[in-house]
């Protein structure tokens, strides 16, 4: 699946998330994930939106987002020039005999064990989306019984920041 990652700066005001979510629904845009949180500026929140490029024209998404009054800036991140991370908590129901094997897999994927009960283990994984998918594949045979993922967050590599002018908003470059 070809995905595009949009970083969206928005005013930190009530109702902004509803405006953004409403736009996706109204325009029938498909999104894979949406993560939102505060930034270095308390007046500004940042959303990272992963768009399914096959079904949704990303340029149109960016332009429509940019029209929302509370949206400050829309930038598409090039996935080769950006750090992309996702956090997942994975509860695995495991036969005590196989627990050692599971912990080996966990180590290989740099995951942490954050909870343990006689029947289950909770793993915490922070990684790029691709690595996370491959971890989940590996865990499948043990029987993942609960999974929660944060959705992708991303930041461009190098010294530039999203508020620099050299990262021109996508919607301005028609």
């Amino acid at each position: 699946m070809s995905t595009h990652t949009l970083s969206v700066l928005v005013e930190n005001k009530p109702g902004v998330l509803a405006h953004v979510a409403g736009l996706f629904s109204r325009r029938a845009f498909n999104i894979s994930s949406l993560a939102v949180g505060p930034t270095e500026d308390p007046k500004v929140s940042r959303m990272t939106i992963v768009v399914d490029g096959a079904s949704t024209p990303v340029e149109q998404v960016a332009k429509q987002l940019d029209k929302l009054v509370r949206v400050l800036k829309v930038v598409e991140l090039d996935d080769h020039a950006a750090v992309e991370r996702e956090l997942a908590l994975i509860k695995v129901r495991i036969d005590p005999a196989l627990r050692g094997e599971l912990l080996e897999v966990a180590t290989v994927f740099h995951t942490k064990v954050v909870d343990m009960s006689p029947e289950t283990v909770i793993l915490e994984a922070t990684s790029s989306p691709g690595k996370l998918d491959s971890l989940l594949e590996n865990l499948e045979r043990y029987g993942t019984c609960e999974l929660v993922r944060t959705g992708r967050i991303a930041m461009s590599r190098g010294s530039g920041t999203i508020t620099d002018n050299d990262l021109a908003p996508l919607a301005e470059a028609v």
Binding site: P14, R26, V71, E172
Partner: protein, 609 residues
């Protein structure tokens, strides 16, 4: 120059939120508000009594919304409506959606239950900011009385600039009752809209590139949308068209942007467009889209629309550019500036290289206009044809009335057969297709243009959806004329059932007799007339147009079998345009072939002569 007049320093005063709201509207320059009071908005109606604002008390909130739209269409100013919470606000939703689709500048102020009650399912509570989110350009729930002046100023700024649209401001009752300090610095308030940017000036290089294409084009068409009227760019359009010798088609939203009697006018494009406009777009080698959005009712099947044409697309909304058709030259920005720039560049190119070579193209177009005009037959003793009424209205008013339409056959007949000469003389529901738009929109237009002739052309189906605003018109001395094209059917739906459902008519017959429109008009304090003969049309219209003390309603009993043609069936290629029953099979075949494909042929040269 120094202002030597003594500065009268305004002392800070304590105002209620309601007073601040009304004062903000006054400061904003609002002259009229269409509204209907109720519980949550009650505090605002108290200071309204002593304000400079004219309030038009409607009979249904939807009427307030459409009236605000009609006012905005007719004047270019932002329409304002004021309603209460819950059902008052939800009754506005259709009008907001309509204004959003047609980019009509409008500010809706809704009362809301008190802040502490929000979320408790209180009496007359509705989450109107949530409900209207997808049909407003912006909306806001005001959370303090101090915020009101800025919220109002921002709402008007957003509604009226860039691509215009409706903005809703939701004000809880306790905010209207709270107090705030109105000081010398309160108005104009500082607007805090860091994410709202006005469009940049059109890119000069893109404008030059477009002018170069236009100078070289052999078969250009200027495809003009409602944006040209909103930008006030009709004079610039006329200048460019004449300089480039390029024909002009005006969409349903742009009727009046270019004078219909002009030799370069093609009429309306699209599903019920003139043959010549549809054919010209299909054969064009260059389409210059100006404030238009490649709507499906214009393009038909998108993949086969204007297949030979390069596209220049100028629009104030960057998101429209490339949304449906990817242009060769995109020009985001104000279309008036773009048109002025295009004319300037064209003049320079013509001085250098001579005028564009469109003579052959204009001869072809003249040939199409002559052979495939809008055609209908009005027999002297036969049933009255709606087209005849429109043409007589057009002739008797010299094309200078403000014409308002609802949605359906009557709307298409009006758009096709009225000869528009000036912008803002045509008002209708284009994008949303809202039946019931005409009467309240005509009311708003008459408020905005007192003393002018405002004529609503309406269907009998449409009319019955919002007819109650006749009471408002009569009481407010708004002498609109309502011409009901009464065919006893939901005519356009009937036409589709005739053409696409093998004449299986399902739930489309309304009957012509109930209600008795003449009696209904009289009951509402209006003048009521009836006409069912072609010979009487002029006399009846004369009588209606001469009545200026009360609104007039005319029940035109028109032929119930009359369809709207030409027609491109929905979703089909424009090449499949059907001329209709007034044309012979030979004529239809000639029209379909167009006898012009790609480069001019000898055959078409001969035809064009």
């Amino acid at each position: 120059m120094l202002d030597l007049a003594p500065q009268k320093k305004e002392q800070p005063v304590q105002l209620t939120g309601a007073q601040a709201l009304v004062r903000s509207l006054e400061q904003q320059g609002v002259e009229v508000v269409f509204g209907l009071p109720g519980g949550a908005i009650l505090p605002a109606y108290d200071p309204l009594r002593s304000s400079s604002l004219r309030h038009v008390l409607v009979r249904h909130e939807q009427g307030a919304g459409h009236a605000a739209e009609g006012y905005a269409w007719a004047t270019g100013r932002t329409g304002v409506c004021l309603v209460t919470s819950g059902p008052g606000a939800t009754n506005l939703v259709t009008a907001l959606a309509d204004a959003y689709m047609d980019s009509v500048p409008m500010v809706a102020i809704t009362g809301q239950v008190s802040t502490a009650m929000i979320g408790t399912d209180a009496f007359q509570e509705a989450d109107i900011t949530g409900i209207t989110l997808p049909v407003t350009k912006h909306n806001e729930l005001v959370t303090s009385a101090e915020r009101l002046p800025a919220a109002i100023a921002e709402a008007f700024h957003i509604a009226s600039t860039g691509r215009p649209g409706p903005v809703l401001v939701d004000v809880p009752k306790d905010i209207l009752q709270a107090t705030m300090t109105w000081g010398p610095g309160t108005w104009p308030p500082a607007m805090n809209l860091p994410g709202y940017r006005l469009p940049a000036a059109p890119d000069q290089a893109a404008v030059r590139a477009a002018a170069t294409l236009l100078r070289q084009a052999r078969r250009p068409v200027l495809y003009v949308g409602g944006g040209v009227i909103k930008a006030g760019a009709h004079a610039e359009l006329l200048a460019l068209a004449e300089l480039a010798q390029a024909p002009v088609t005006t969409t349903l939203m742009a009727r009046g942007a270019f004078p219909d009697p002009h030799p370069l006018a093609l009429g309306m494009p699209g599903m019920h467009g003139c043959y010549t406009a549809v054919a010209a777009l299909q054969e064009a080698d260059l389409v210059v889209a100006l404030g238009a959005r490649f709507d499906d009712r214009v393009t038909g099947n998108l993949a086969t629309f204007a297949p030979h044409a390069k596209i220049v697309h100028a629009d104030i909304d960057p998101a429209e550019i490339g949304k449906n058709r990817v242009p060769d030259v995109p020009i985001p920005g104000d279309v008036r500036a773009t048109l002025a720039g295009l004319t300037e560049s064209m003049a320079a190119l013509i001085a250098e290289n001579g005028p564009p070579d469109t003579g052959y193209w204009l001869r072809c177009i003249g040939d199409w206009k002559r052979r495939f005009p809008l055609r209908y037959t009005q027999d002297a003793d036969g049933p009255l044809k709606p087209q005849h009424v429109v043409e007589r209205l057009s002739a008797l008013t010299g094309g200078e009335a403000v014409v308002v339409a609802g949605v359906g056959q009557h709307q298409m007949h009006a758009a096709q057969h009225y000869s528009f000469t000036t912008p803002r003389s045509w008002i209708n529901s284009g994008g949303l297709g809202t039946m019931g738009f005409a009467v309240p929109a005509a009311m708003g237009a008459q408020v905005g243009r007192p003393g002018e002739l405002v004529v609503a052309i309406d269907g009998d189906g449409c009319f019955q959806m919002t007819a109650q605003e006749l009471a408002t018109c009569a009481i407010e001395h708004l002498p609109i004329k309502v011409l009901i094209f009464n065919n006893g059917f939901l005519g356009m739906v009937r036409q589709w059932q005739e053409l696409f459902y093998e004449e299986r008519y399902s739930e489309v017959e309304l009957g012509t007799a109930i209600p008795d429109y003449v009696k209904l008009a009289e009951a509402y304090g209006c003048h009521g007339l009836r006409c069912d003969r072609a010979d009487d049309v002029d006399a009846v219209l004369d009588k209606a147009l001469a009545t200026t003390d009360v609104p007039t309603v005319v029940d035109f009993r028109v032929h119930d079998r009359e369809g709207v043609f030409p027609m491109v069936p929905a979703g089909r290629p424009n090449d499949e345009i059907v001329l209709g029953p007034e044309f012979t099979g030979d004529e239809q075949r000639a029209a379909t072939r167009r006898e012009l494909r790609g480069e001019p042929t000898k055959n078409t040269e001969v035809l064009a002569r």
